[in-house]
């Protein structure tokens, strides 16, 4: 008789115990999901800052180095205008044409242009040395593919380069601070 009772009590948990255990386990699972969600949001926030934190300063350094070597610049609404030297603007420009004077008095030229190529937004660099007769159709170098817009502006008398990222983040540099 005693052994029967013992077997019965060992057979399993009560409904109350099971409910409690399941509820607590679900609570733990929900808390883990919350932690995961928090981590994902955190990683996303870090990525959102990447453009202003890493990309924009690098682009600015490159552009400043290039522009400061030029002895002359002019802003155009697009690459075609910059190549053709037509329709120069003072604001809302997407291309800037640079002229570099060589020691022998000749000139090399370059265009920094924000454009869409093959469906991708790119900030490209085109170079034409003194011996070249025309511009190449493909850029010599892609400076960056990170900005969604690059705006060149000279309406204040300064060359201002505004870089806009994918999240609406924006920063403006003086292109020729020196």
């Amino acid at each position: 008789m005693r052994s029967k009772q013992s077997k019965k009590s060992k057979a399993g948990f009560t409904i109350l115990e099971m409910t409690m255990a399941l509820t607590l386990a679900m609570g733990i699972a929900a808390a883990l999901l919350g932690l995961l969600q928090q981590q994902i949001s955190f990683t996303r926030a870090l990525n959102d800052f990447q453009f202003l934190r890493d990309d924009a300063p690098q682009i600015n350094t490159l552009l400043t180095n290039i522009i400061n070597k030029a002895d002359n610049y002019r802003i155009y609404p697009n690459l075609a205008s910059a190549k053709a030297l037509t329709g120069a603007v003072r604001s809302d420009g997407r291309s800037v044409r640079l002229r570099f004077r060589n020691p022998d008095g000749t000139y090399d030229q370059a265009i920094v242009s924000f454009e869409i190529r093959s469906g991708e937004k790119q900030l490209n660099y085109y170079f034409r040395d003194k011996a070249s007769t025309g511009w190449s159709s493909a850029p010599n170098w892609t400076i960056s593919k990170k900005p969604t817009t690059v705006d060149f502006d000279n309406s204040t008398g300064l060359l201002l380069v505004t870089l806009i990222g994918q999240k609406g983040d924006e920063i403006t540099y003086a292109g020729n601070p020196d």
């Binding site: 733990i28 808390a31 883990l32 870090l46 800052f49 934190r53 999240k167 609406g168 983040d169 920063i171």
Partner: protein
């Protein structure tokens, strides 16, 4: 013997509750630590970005101070008022992810060199400054806040004619 078996069963039943309680406790601690780490990192990111923005804005100030025609610098209504007067304006130094504008207070003032002639704000005379050289320090101060702290950055350009 039966008493021992009974005690063992009670221990077995109670242990699940203890384990779950320990799990909850651990989760809460891990959650708090993760949240704190996330907040710390986000704050440092915002700090870095606002420093970048303020540096970028001051490159414009330096460029402007170097290029502004001298007559405009010293004229009435100059962007740089004669010290101790200061021109103050609120400027947008950039936009954070999401498009929220970040603003700062910009203060500008111009300080004459002490050897400028009196007409140019100094105390020099034709004896000490026979060439009537005129020198001005153009100072721009950018004041911005990050969290509850206020930061000031300054750039000074020297213009001489």
């Amino acid at each position: 013997m039966q008493l021992n078996r009974h005690r063992a069963r009670r221990r077995q039943r109670g242990s699940a509750l203890i384990e779950i309680a320990v799990s909850y406790g651990t989760l809460v601690v891990v959650g708090i630590l993760t949240l704190k780490a996330a907040i710390n990192t986000s704050s440092s990111q915002a700090w870095t970005i606002k420093q970048t923005m303020s540096d970028a804005y001051l490159t414009r100030e330096t460029a402007l101070a170097s290029r502004m025609p001298f007559d405009d610098i010293t004229a009435n209504g100059s962007l740089w008022e004669l010290y101790p007067a200061v021109t103050t304006s609120t400027v947008v130094i950039g936009k954070m992810p999401g498009g929220n504008a970040t603003t700062a207070a910009l203060h500008r003032t111009r300080i004459p060199d002490s050897n400028n002639l009196v007409s140019a704000g100094g105390s020099g005379t034709v004896l000490t400054n026979p060439g009537a050289t005129e020198a001005w320090k153009l100072q721009s101060l950018l004041v911005y806040t990050i969290g509850d702290k206020e930061y000031v950055k300054t750039r000074t350009s020297l213009r001489i004619r």
